[in-house]
């Protein structure tokens, strides 16, 4: 059996233009064997959900450095639910203070990877969670 590669959408929601982290994570995950799609800057939540649908991704990685991670993620989770994409694994990266991690997880975010998180841990986390999801399905 040939394993289908895991598809990851790296998305830059909102107006924040700091894309170093998004690009670096995209390159790291691609190197780790994932199929990675990068949205580019200034995406609305609606555009991100649309891209997730079109590209049939398993994972959405949001990169946010403006501090607006909670309101943006909240909006995305609602739209994903509306689009029947609840089983998409959502990860959030950026300059996320410890105090906001629980709030993001309460919104349904699977994992939070603040600045300087290790790529290996990120890749392992995605593999494990996507595999688990497929076993359940």
């Amino acid at each position: 059996m040939i394993m289908k590669p895991i598809r990851v959408l790296i998305a830059k929601p909102g107006l924040d233009g700091h894309d170093r982290g998004a690009k670096v994570v995209a390159l790291a995950l691609r190197d780790a064997g994932f199929e990675v799609i990068y949205t580019g800057l200034h995406q609305t939540v609606e555009q991100i959900v649309e891209a997730a649908l079109q590209e049939d991704v398993d994972v959405i990685g949001l990169s946010i450095l403006s501090g607006a991670h909670v309101p943006i993620t909240e909006k995305l989770m609602k739209r994903l639910h509306d689009a029947d994409l609840d089983d998409t694994l959502v990860l959030v990266g950026g300059n996320i203070p410890d105090r906001d991690v629980d709030a993001l997880k309460a919104l349904g975010v699977a994992g939070v990877f603040p600045t300087s998180s290790e790529f290996n841990a990120m890749a392992a986390f995605i593999r494990e969670r996507v595999a688990k999801k497929e076993t359940v399905a």
Partner: protein
């Protein structure tokens, strides 16, 4: 047998010898005197001995009311210039009540929607004495127009207004990402502001070319200077195309550079850059005036070097960055605050940064003598090596990438920078690039606290911004606004300088969102070349 020693390779790729001596100096390269061509040692003969660097901490959040209070606090504590932070909706030309602005109003800077906001922001600020830097790019033209009109209302005529606008759109496409219009139109607006200032606001610095954000996006120190110089040359050509003489406007272009990293590499970078800039301005553009040949810079930020791990360590990093900047002969310093790895600074963090610089000036003797590292075998050898590498990188842009404008339009520079960022990140993760608290001396999770006091976002300030803007829109002369916006559209479409029409539009209280929308109708929007 000699002791085994480890190799040292700087970020710029230069191998460092364990010791340097007289043989490492290049006899053909004269070090020269400060204040004299090619200004390796500094642009003034007595530098900080005559006047310490200008201190200009980045500040702005919430509505103009809160920002005005922060400005006054910083000035009361000895800051002698302002560096204005705008929120993302303002940077992107959106009014506070635009649906796309939701969640971002007043978050990373202050929200400016119309002239009324600008009036409040500078209320009671002596802008004839305090030089103000506006960190604004894609919509620099309307924001500058607002500032000029506020200055007029303070009794400062356009011919006397001082200050700086960042207004460097090419670097926005490479790093920072606050672009709106396609590259050719983004550049054209820069040309308009340069031309307008050369004729009407000759004391104003219309552009601050930023290597800073390019380096923050991943570029190494050589790429930082090389790309910034390529960009600066592109802007100078704009001025020449408008019929200006290089010596009549180019001295009003300044630079904004980054200072994190290896201390000696950064000092050498700046010394090399000053020498190269003077040489280039003379050889390529025939510049003669000393002011045109002198590379003037703000240096002090270095957010990319800060860590979210053990954030208090960033206070120490900030102090070393300030030292680098002082040893490098910067004209202005805007030091990154220790909480910058998380968000915009609290009042406490901003004050610590200001005190860090004041301690250097008052207690450490950094202002006593010019270029104190000048003549060091190591620093001089490194300066020569950096200069050669910057020249080579500039040639690569010109010859291999078709020049900076094409390289940016097609995303070639962006890919180079992302590649470098990826390489650096791999170095951090495998430990070959040391970072204290991250890959060295890391605390385990139970010991580590990342809890520092952070600037907290006040959502009600966004509501207030929206209320104020709706009130302004309801109570202005609508016919005057419509006429003014029509003139902006015509100037944009007919390739006339947009600045006079822009001044009239802001005077009529047309909002930033309305002006930007008008320009978008003519220019369209940039399509990002997304290729990894």
């Amino acid at each position: 047998m000699p002791d085994k020693i480890r190799d040292v390779i700087l970020e710029s790729g230069i191998a460092v010898k364990p010791v340097y001596g007289p043989d490492d100096l290049d006899p053909a390269r004269k070090i020269g005197q400060p204040g004299e061509f090619p200004f390796t040692r500094g642009i003034h003969p007595s530098m900080y001995r005559a006047r310490p660097w200008t201190m200009r901490q980045y500040a702005g959040f919430g509505t103009p009311i809160e920002t005005n209070e922060r400005f006054k606090f910083l000035i009361a504590n000895g800051q002698n210039a302002l560096n204005v932070a705008f929120d993302l909706p303002t940077q992107m030309g959106l009014d506070s009540d635009d649906p796309l602005a939701e969640g971002e109003v007043g978050r990373v800077g202050m929200a400016i929607d119309s002239l009324a906001d600008m009036e409040v922001a500078f209320d009671g600020i002596p802008i004839d004495q305090i030089s103000v830097s506006l960190t604004i790019n894609a919509v620099a033209a309307p924001i500058m127009a607002m500032y000029f009109v506020v200055a007029e209302k303070h009794g400062v005529p356009l011919s006397d207004v001082r200050g700086t606008a960042q207004n460097d759109i090419l670097k926005e496409y490479i790093g920072r990402g606050a672009w709106i219009f396609p590259v050719e139109h983004g550049i054209r607006l820069i040309g308009d502001t340069i031309e307008f200032c050369a004729h009407h606001a000759p004391k104003y610095y219309p552009v601050s070319v930023c290597g800073y954000h390019i380096r923050e996006s991943g570029a190494n120190p050589v790429q930082e200077i090389a790309y910034a110089f390529c960009i600066a040359r592109a802007y100078i050509r704009l001025g020449l195309e408008r019929g200006l003489n290089v010596d009549d406007f180019a001295e009003r272009l300044s630079f904004n550079f980054d200072i994190f990293g290896n201390l000696f590499e950064q000092v050498a970078k700046f010394r090399a850059a000053r020498r190269l800039w003077a040489t280039l301005m003379q050889a390529e553009f025939g510049a003669k005036k000393p002011g045109t040949l002198q590379m003037k810079m703000i240096a002090g930020g270095g957010g990319g070097g800060l860590t979210i791990e053990q954030p208090e360590n960033n206070i120490v990093r900030g102090a070393y960055y300030a030292l680098i900047s002082a040893l490098s002969g910067a004209q202005t310093m805007a030091l990154c605050s220790y909480d910058e790895a998380y968000t915009i600074p609290t009042e406490k963090a901003a004050l610590i940064s200001l005190r860090t610089m004041q301690i250097l000036v008052e207690e450490m003797g950094l202002c006593d003598t010019v270029d104190p590292l000048g003549g060091s075998y190591y620093v001089e050898a490194l300066t020569n090596e950096m200069e050669q590498r910057i020249v080579a990188e500039m040639q690569r842009v010109d010859q291999d990438m078709g020049g900076i404008v094409r390289a940016v339009s097609e995303g070639a520079v962006q890919r180079e920078v992302a590649k470098q960022a990826w390489k650096y990140e791999q170095g951090l993760q495998n430990g070959s690039i040391p970072k204290v608290g991250v890959n060295r001396y890391r605390l385990d999770a139970s010991q580590e606290t990342r809890e520092v006091e952070l600037h907290s976002y006040q959502a009600e300030q966004a509501t207030e911004s929206i209320r104020r803007t709706r009130e302004i829109r309801a109570n202005r002369d609508q016919a005057a606004v419509a006429t003014a916006l029509k003139k902006v559209r015509e100037a944009a479409a007919n390739n006339q300088n947009v600045m006079p029409a822009m001044m009239d539009a802001v005077r009529a209280y047309a909002t930033l969102g309305e002006i930007t929308q008008t320009l978008k109708q003519v220019f369209g929007e940039f399509k990002e070349p997304v290729r990894l």
